[in-house]
């Protein structure tokens, strides 16, 4: 597996930027409570860049955290801004980092709690309760059914069905009208093709047959010419060279 593939596999399993950030910290066995968050900025950005390279839509949430990490990293590299240049109420890098850290810690706790819930659910799943809910309230399958038996029951009923009278109404596409349409189209557009005509007219069995018959008839009458490079290829239709 190439690095890119490895990353792609991993990207798929991340559930948001906090999840990604948490995994990066855990991967390096750093303590979430004390690690300078800027220290995983590089790896974080590498993932975001990889997402972009893979044409994944990078959610805004990823970019917000990326921006925060870049900010923290830049502050770590630069000398502190003199107090007189800091706006009133503006957060210090330390405060920004602290807030992100607390989000991360909160997130990691709820994630952990979620995993504990999974264990509880597994333990509880062996117990079944009687459920006398309204059987018509929703279509939920509660009992095991054998599809074979269902099929046999269905076929049995079908065999007992009374014969029905029915009228088949056909929407007729006339061969002449179709011939007319095709020859005009070929003349006006300089060319056409069997596949294109069928698609254009709706791909029903009837359309395909009539179109094919119309083409045969037009060719026989030398109203159009055709080309078909190979057996399974489309049939190209051309005007008759005069």
């Amino acid at each position: 597996m190439t690095d890119a593939e490895a990353l792609r596999v991993r990207l798929d399993v991340f559930d948001g930027p906090l999840d990604l950030l948490l995994s990066l910290i855990k991967e390096q066995q750093l303590d979430i409570a004390t690690v300078p968050l800027a220290s995983v900025a590089e790896q974080y950005l590498a993932y975001v860049r990889m997402m972009e390279d893979l044409d994944m839509e990078v959610a805004a949430e990823y970019l917000v955290i990326a921006a925060t990490l870049v900010f923290l990293k830049s502050k770590a590299l630069l000398p502190p801004i003199p107090a007189e240049f800091v706006d009133e109420g503006e957060e210090t890098p330390e405060e920004v980092e602290e807030r992100l850290r607390r989000r991360l810690i909160a997130y990691s706790r709820y994630r952990e709690l979620g995993l504990q819930l999974r264990v509880r659910q597994e333990e509880a799943s062996g117990f079944y309760y009687r459920d006398l809910g309204d059987p018509t309230s929703e279509l939920v399958q509660h009992y095991r059914v054998d599809p074979e038996k269902l099929k046999r029951a269905f076929i049995l009923m079908l065999q007992q069905a009374r014969p029905e009278k029915r009228e088949v109404v056909r929407e007729r596409v006339s061969l002449l009208a179709q011939m007319d349409y095709i020859s005009r189209k070929v003349k006006e557009e300089g060319s056409s093709s069997f596949f294109a005509l069928c698609h254009e007219l709706g791909m029903t069995r009837e359309v395909i047959i009539i179109t094919f018959l119309a083409i045969l008839e037009l060719v026989r009458r030398r109203r159009i010419e055709f080309e078909q490079p190979d057996l399974d290829d489309d049939i190209r239709l051309l005007p008759v060279k005069s």
Binding site: L113, L117, Q121
Partner: protein, 211 residues
């Protein structure tokens, strides 16, 4: 037989009769409670059982205790879930039960469990608040949890945009074998580090609720 002996015998007999009557009464309470738990498709608490049987809660508690013992090693067990009691099939015989009943779809994705943990701890909670903690859009996990009946709407929050809030349902407690919300696995909170949501929200996201 002298008078004294006769008196003692009479008294003993009387005590015996009383004990028997008491015993019979307890058995009939037990039978009623058992029947109610058998037909109910929800957890019934002591109070409700007392009302339904016309007995006092102490008698119900004794009956439940006796039932619990009686069911302790059979195919049916008495479970204390969702703030009450329910009869359930024992997990020891789940294979046989599952040969008949379809096992419920229990698997929830990690994101869904995460969101559920947040709702369970912070309810009533808005989707925006869930998203603030998870750092990611949570529309689909919230609707999964709603579809599964594990969470339900809990009215609108009285803030700008009046976002909907969510809470967990009794089904949540049952599916996770929890007696009540107090029974939830605890978040390890360090002292002096409460999870205050407004501190978690970045300033720019203080109104994260889309209408």
């Amino acid at each position: 037989m002298n008078d004294t002996e006769e008196l003692v015998n009479d008294t003993e007999e009387l005590v015996n009769v009383e004990a028997q009557e008491l015993h019979a009464a307890a058995e009939s309470v037990q039978a009623a409670v058992e029947a109610l738990l058998f037909v109910a498709s929800e957890a019934l608490d002591t109070k409700r059982l007392a009302k339904l049987t016309g007995e006092d809660e102490r008698a119900i508690a004794l009956a439940l205790q006796a039932l619990e013992e009686r069911y302790s090693n059979g195919g049916i067990v008495l479970r204390q879930v969702a703030g009450g009691y329910r009869l359930a099939t024992s997990s020891a015989v789940r294979d046989a039960v599952e040969a008949y009943l379809l096992p419920p779809k229990t698997t929830l994705s990690t994101p869904a469990l995460e969101a559920l943990a947040i709702v369970a701890n912070m309810q009533p909670v808005t989707k925006g608040e869930i998203e603030a903690i998870r750092g990611v859009n949570s529309d689909s996990v919230v609707s999964t949890l709603l579809d599964r009946g594990l969470i339900a709407e809990a009215g609108r929050k009285d803030v700008v945009g009046r976002p909907m809030t969510y809470k967990t349902t009794p089904l949540f407690l049952e599916s996770f074998g929890l007696r009540s919300l107090e029974d939830l696995p605890q978040l390890e909170l360090e002292p002096g580090q409460p999870l205050e949501l407004n501190l978690l929200l970045p300033a720019a996201e203080e109104a994260p609720e889309p209408a």
